[in-house]
Symmetry: C2
């Protein structure tokens, strides 16, 4: 008992619509109708076919359906790193919206490498996915535009359209940098460090620009109020920790630091603590993203919140809208907001 039948070791010997038709003594087209136009077939016949399907263990063949012209039930998404908490939440938002539309989601991490991105894009295109959501690894969008032109819809995620003829969901990074800087300036800080990453990354450039504009708006001299420091790759807590020395070495020493994401901020907090610099007493720290644990650090991290989950949902929404008749590409913009917690404080008086 509990034994399989002897011959069942063969894979991919799934029952086809034909076996069902034979078992139900109808034609294959009737079986197909039961599946796709149930109301066009008489109840008794339908019942018979359904029984036959159960009997032979019928499972639809998606490849055949798609070949015949059915729309794909798969969408793809390419993010820099799906294990990063920011992207993990974005991808969950995408997934949830797609699920509502009966779609599955293929995910891929590009690790910022264009080659990896291209490999994924080609495979997804060959599969005939319904569309691809992508946070571009490089700044060149022409490949994506061409892909879209060939018939696979593309939606940019966390990236502005930048003139490309694509849909996009963007977050206003200039504004994000601005509110962070505004907050620090209001607290009296006049010497601020901005920890950015690689020069090529657009979102970081924009945030730095936002900081600069904020300082200029306040009537201060940008070159003396702002120090920009690049965090080397890979962007881990440890690396960010070691950057603390650079920050502290700047003269005159900054009284606040804006980090390009919460992981870097985490490293700063750790590094500052180890060096005996009280936060926010001697140094205020601002992060970016507002990932789940930001609130629980000590001190709780002041950070710029991005609507991660909503970002994903909105991107999926745009993708699903792509095949509607008179579709026009559009860009959705989110505005990040400052979340003030305990890692920032008025600049220390005296000293």
């Amino acid at each position: 008992m509990g034994q399989d039948e002897g011959d069942s070791s063969q894979r991919s010997r799934r029952a086809s619509i034909r076996q069902v038709a034979a078992a139900a003594r109808v034609s294959t087209s009737t079986v197909s109708n039961v599946l796709n136009n149930p109301d066009v077939v008489a109840t008794s016949t339908r019942r018979r076919v359904e029984d036959a399907m159960a009997e032979v263990g019928y499972v639809r063949n998606g490849a055949a359906r798609q070949l015949r012209g059915a729309p794909s039930t798969i969408a793809g998404c390419l993010l820099l790193d799906t294990a990063n908490p920011f992207f993990a939440e974005v991808s969950r938002g995408i997934e949830d919206r797609l699920t509502e539309a009966g779609c599955l989601l293929i995910v891929g991490s590009t690790d910022s490498r264009a080659t990896q991105e291209n490999t994924y894009l080609r495979m997804m295109e060959e599969l005939g996915v319904r569309g691809i959501l992508v946070n571009p690894a490089g700044s060149r969008l022409d490949r994506l535009v061409r892909l879209s032109g060939r018939g696979t819809p593309v939606v940019l995620v966390d990236h502005p359209r930048a003139g490309a003829d694509l849909c996009a969901v963007a977050v206003d990074d200039v504004h994000g940098g601005g509110v962070a800087a505004d907050h620090l300036l209001a607290l009296g800080h006049r010497r601020i460090a901005f920890l950015g990453g690689r020069a090529g990354v657009r979102s970081l450039r924009d945030r730095a620009e936002g900081v600069r504009r904020s300082i200029a708006r306040a009537g201060l001299d940008v070159s003396s109020a702002l120090v920009e420091i690049a965090v080397p790759e890979p962007c881990t807590v440890e690396v960010a920790d070691s950057v603390v020395d650079q920050v502290l070495a700047v003269s005159p020493r900054p009284t606040a630091v804006i980090c390009f994401n919460d992981v870097v901020a985490l490293g700063q907090l750790r590094g500052l603590r180890r060096r005996g610099i009280p936060v926010p007493g001697q140094m205020s720290v601002i992060g970016y993203d507002d990932v789940q644990f930001a609130e629980q650090l000590s001190p709780a991290l002041t950070t710029v919140r991005q609507p991660k989950y909503q970002l994903g949902r909105a991107a999926a929404e745009l993708l699903l809208a792509e095949d509607r008749p008179g579709h026009q590409h559009q860009e959705i913009r989110f505005t990040p907001e400052l979340v003030v917690r305990a890692s920032t404080a008025p600049v220390a008086t005296g000293g």
Copy 2:
């Protein structure tokens, strides 16, 4: 300039192997050979075909290939919540291994709901995926076994085989609970709280069992040394925070608490801090998983490390091995290890 051609608005009008053949003035089978058996076609012909492919913008049709019998390049994975940092890392491990094998990955979050799981399973089966990696939402494995029997390989992730005829990658949760308890007992704790979740979740039952056995091994009375408390759903930081009151209300008050994951531990740390209970001075706290931020909390969290990324890789490895000829289902077991940090200390003397 920059205008599209007028007719290109039609989607899915991709060039087929036929247009390529026509453009290269060869037959379709030759084009196919260029794609699949390049060495069987003369260099000059091949060159000509390749040029033609570039000219018409040819992209392979995966659906047609699959229909013809080509193995699927997609695998599926179903986890409880891909946005949870534990599962996000597991899924990244899966993804990386699959990428090496030229496979794509569909992810799905079941949120522990069997209905959601079933929906995903059916869709994936219809697509004819190469296999499905699943962290089962319920304890019933029969559906998965049947799925596997119908020809779609199934690998259990973070779940023991439990007698089912499937491959599995498991982590020894009994051992994990054991090392956590051993550590506390060695520090002199004699009154320990275990924060579990819903009774039905196997991994949590196992961890509790490990704790019990450890206490018994030490020659202590389990019923007086251990208090089990259930954390209500949803398992968020806030909920875990509120559970602190229950822990403190137990008489005699526990001197240490073992949490079933790091998020709950985070909540405990926060709740204890707010109530003025020093950690680890008055209360030692142990987490589970060792997620990325555990090391950066204050105090740094002592926790039981699970090999998250490796878990995913190993599961993907098993899946890829499924179609090798004499394949036998097997189970891989990982052993979690204790990571001692600052949130645990010897039990306070006196008091």
